[in-house]
Amino acid sequence: MAPSAPSINSTMSSRMATARPSSYRHKSEKRGMTYNIMLVGQAGLGRRTFLNTLCERAVIASPEAPNPETANVADPMKFDTYEVAMEEEGTRISLTVIDTPGFGDGLDNTSCFKQLQDYIEAQFDEVLVEESRVKRNRRYRDHRIHVLVYFIAPTGHSLRELDIELIRRLGEYVNIIPVIGRADSFTVEELDAFRANVMRDIVYYKLPVYNFCWDETDSEALVENREIMDHIPFSVVTCDEVFDNEYGSVRIRRYPWGTIEIDDEAQCDFALLRYILLNSHIADLINYTEDMLYENYRTKKLEVGGYGENDEEEDDDEEEQALGASKKQDKSKAAAIADTDGGGDVLGKFDSGFDN
């Protein structure tokens, strides 16, 4: 594979030239691209099996049956991290998946959004600090979330309040790809109708889901990306059974009335989504996170901290201190807003000029 045009070899994070199936990729690290996916959704929508099916191995084991006593006590939301070394079409990926069990499962779920936002911002802050060190850490690993896969319940109606709030609040920090969990509860007509309802909501509420067509310079990719966007939200059915027939192994889900093949693109979007996440759009997702989402965050952060163009000349420690202070300031501001506002409009604080 010939190396592509100038691609900066950075020890801090992997910067890739935009990769498409037909173009070349340039690897910068032996252990593979650093890639972080976050999975968010209520219990029962298939997050765990999605992860296992995506990585093609049992990354998360089936949890033991919990005690009956714990049924009425919701666990607080956790961040469970799983590291998987993957290889896709010759490219090594050092994949980290962050699962968030407990999201939306309690009686009062309004604090979940802030927790997610804090987590994502913390990863940005880490990079911010790292970037400004005089002596950078060679072994630094980037934990910024490159894509958040959000599981919507197959209600058949429109988005729920939980869905709208989540996308609204987190869309400026992370690429959000909405998917329909347990999509095998829909017939084809119902799926189309539900997709249309969800898309109408996304437009009406101006929800910042990941825009596959953000890079308008590549016209060939634009056509492909527009087609991809027709599938949003992606229908996902995941399986726990692999069946061997004469054509090889097939991933299935078996019902009394028939068997669904997970990889059959006519039956669900899992195969397409997997290809997008791990092959065709991995570079896009990483690039957008680094070049747009992170940069916007950084700019705001430094502006709030009162820094202009001269920060590079400042001392390491002083800057870290100041960043720490502005971080606290931000957090208390956000907390104050969240308190008074019951949650809806934290975005009002950020007058971001960019469209997602």
């Binding site: 219990a43 049924a71 197959p154 109606h157 429109s158 084809v188 889900r253 019902y255 669904i260 093949e261």
Partner: protein, 337 residues
Amino acid sequence: MSAPANDSQDYVGFDTITQQMERKFLKRGFNFNVILVGESGMGKSTLVNSIFSSHLVDSQGRRTAQEVIRKTTEISPVTQTLEENGVRVRLTIIDTPGFGDQCNNEGCWVPVIKYIKDQHAAYLERELKPQRDRVINDTRVHACLYFLNPGSRGLRPLDVEVLKRLTEVTNVIPVIAKSDSMTVEERTVFKRRIKEELVFHRIAVYPYPSEEDGEEDRLLNSSIRDLVPFAVVGSEEIIDVNGTPVRGRRHGWGVINIFDEAHSDFVHLRNFMLRTHLSDLIEVTSQRHYEQFRTSQLRQIKELRAQQAAAAASGGIMGSMPQQAPPQVPAIHQSMA
């Protein structure tokens, strides 16, 4: 000693009371009230329409972007009269749109419990009137279909809170309505977990064991209890399967026939609710839930009167307290809600 033949002189004929009752019943008809409790999108309207084989209720879920998202649980009753072989039923289906649909669901059950108690209160009020109707229009809720979320590993915190309260005021029948996304194995595991959790939290779902039950009833009830929660699939569509019309759902990988016992518990649920336990549901509502309500209400009235009498006797210190006429049931009920 076997009964004498009908034409013999020893035949008394009191066994015809069943036909006499039937004739009265046919003339009068009866009320049947069912409340549906569950988040939107669980398949409540479709299931109820399937059970009664007619389009009784419209789904109240939000389908357009312009509709406002509900902030509270609404109570929306719809009454229709159905007739089958001369028997008329005034069927009221009470839907609860907004239940469990917000980010913060604390207290979303309050309007539901209040509605159920209000019906008991209204009945009590009419019963206590000096001049009361011959037949009181029964709006009490006879059955509550509680919709569980398929795919959850068991009861969720919301389910536990709501079921505890619902089972105290009405007959609760737990169902999983969109069970076509669960494999047979997943269903079995789920049902077992739910049963364990119901037992643990001492949540008593219908049918209740009773000493009056004969052997046959006990067997039937225990086979019903084995099925709980009913894993059903509802459908209002008739689809064509090789020339045969089938009420079901057509997926890309197969056709579900809701009447097929291998596919879903729909037939069992329908038979249970309507063919075997219909009159029991109505009777148990009256004898168990209504009686409990009535007892606690009347006790409260009695205590209140005793307090008033004591206050009046001790020199009218609390003379400013308003006199309450006997059937002030709703007022007291509100203070205990």
